[in-house]
Symmetry: C2
């Protein structure tokens, strides 16, 4: 598998993207990477390291899409950006998948315009793969790409997420829940009530009914279907609570004197593991589903490990041909 | 101030409701309570305690509205329930406010049908008053009562929340944010884009623009306006993350051997304070805004302290005549 790595756009780019790519190469002999970005900057990082020259190429690109760029303008105008050049190469068959930590909106628009949507797909979704209390993962479809969804889109989201969890996590019949304001089938707003009825009669998915946001991270389902606006609100609120709790623990330790500081030192490995588990680093970011090709989003703050995980995930998705499996699911 | 306390419907009722009422009496000489519920059960709890007989009345009611009841059926049929009898007495001027830990839906419907909506109000809202990282509070309007809001309702929510924070928290010009998927003014779905425009030109509120869900609990605003479906999702997801993190800490301590257990013992006061701060107990639950009278919701798991706080809050709301202030705000 050959994966394009967009080496710009993240907070610690290009260094961490390049190092992450080299780390990923260690995971599989059949993996190779194309590093997209400013050749001189990429080469400067490569020069410090030993790696298999035959498995690393550079796709020279001078421009960078930033988070301040308007997504649609950036895709149209920054033709020589690592993101646009990478997507074009992917579209033309020059690679099997792509990883980028750039502007999510630009990736969504670029992915849709350049790679195209899969057969039967109305809109692509941006899907965080979230860690859970039970050590499983739940894919959130949609995590924020589509903020005004038609009910039919929610059906597509269910099929997309099912294909992903089946292929990438080996779950034969992924449990699919609908994010709603109550567990009972009659609960919901106009959209989720209609979606509940539609998902109940959708072939090829294992619909387990409504899931409340309090079970967002408890692993009760493998696929969580939602309008992107609500999905974004739930995910961000959940992350916000995580940050607030860790800040409060820190403040409490600072104010708590010697006893609290000693307690913290002893409990540090436990707290660090939890922070690591619930952060995006272990997971490797979000995936775009519904596109013709494999596109994985590493979060903006990705370090080498996160990039490496995202690259391995992209290779797995390409290997299992997730885009084709989604099209098959939607054709049922 | 005379506050009706619905002594049934919560997990630890009637005991904790009755004890909470007696605790609240200690806070102010001018407070008196009417305990609504099964007289014999209430008297059994009262018999164990000393209290000022002249400040405690009982409103005998034989029926109980449970969480399994359909809200609208319960309000229509359980005429002799503590909830319905309490609301009727409040409506008839027999008290200044009411606290209940019963079925939220039943309280919303009962409040709307029996107490009536305030002048200029389209729908009542259920508003959690949330603790924040910065030791301030943010009122969420709406936390789940209205799952398909018209944009005009969001304007009413902003005015309601502003009146509450001004009167109860003494903030002259409460910062009002719109829950959205990005901070920039052009962000949002169809509803929030329209709401942003409307709130920008609403008199009598201090609109600070969009607030992302990651700032749900960071205290960036005093009033957070949202459709109830989204508000419910964000709040529940945030609570869910809190539960998950505390569970993970517990699991980590169990698996972490002597070192982790000792660390936990030392850090226990810090963790307990945080859990207490971020739980509903310290806050006293949610308030219903938009009704003609004061109605406060204590959460279902309320113990005596939570009931006491809710009763004091109801008395404060009545003292400051929040329903009238909301009507004044909406008339601007």
């Amino acid at each position: 598998m050959k994966i394009i790595v967009d080496c710009h756009g993240g907070d610690f780019c290009p260094r961490e993207a390049v190092v992450g790519a080299l780390v990923a190469l260690d995971s599989s002999k059949s993996l190779s990477v194309i590093l997209a970005g400013r050749k001189d900057e990429i080469e400067a990082v490569l020069a410090e390291r030993k790696y298999d020259l035959s498995r690393v190429e550079i796709l020279d690109a001078s421009e960078i899409i930033t988070n301040d760029d308007s997504p649609s303008l950036a895709i149209r105008r920054k033709k020589d950006s690592s993101t646009v050049k990478g997507l074009r190469l992917l579209k033309d068959g020059g690679a099997d998948g792509m990883v980028s930590s750039a502007n999510t909106g630009a990736l969504l628009i670029g992915g849709t315009l350049i790679l195209g949507l899969g057969a039967g797909v109305t809109r692509a979704a941006m899907c965080p793969v979230m860690p859970t209390l039970t050590d499983t993962h739940t894919i959130l479809v949609d995590g924020g790409a589509n903020v005004d969804c038609k009910v039919e889109q929610l059906r597509e989201f269910a099929v997309m997420g099912t294909a992903y969890m089946r292929e990438l996590h080996g779950i034969k019949s992924p449990k699919t829940g609908l994010l709603n304001n109550g567990a009972e089938s009659e609960k919901g707003n106009a959209q989720t009530k209609a979606a509940h009825a539609l998902l109940s009669e959708t072939d090829g998915i294992n619909f387990i009914g409504n899931v409340e946001a309090k079970d967002f991270l408890t692993g009760v389902c493998d696929v969580l279907v939602t309008d992107g606006f609500v999905g974004n609100a739930a995910m961000k609120a959940s992350e916000g609570m995580g940050s607030v709790l860790f800040s409060l623990i820190k403040n409490g330790i600072m104010a708590g004197g010697l006893r609290a500081k000693l307690g913290y030192l002893l409990l540090k490995p436990v707290l660090r593991d939890i922070k690591h588990k619930m952060s995006g680093d272990a997971v490797g970011g979000a995936v775009f589903l519904g596109l013709n090709k494999v596109l994985v989003k590493a979060h903006g703050a990705s370090k080498a490990t996160a990039f490496s995980n995202a690259i391995i995930k992209a290779a797995d998705m390409a290997e299992r041909d997730v885009p084709a499996k989604i099209a098959q699911g939607l054709a049922l």
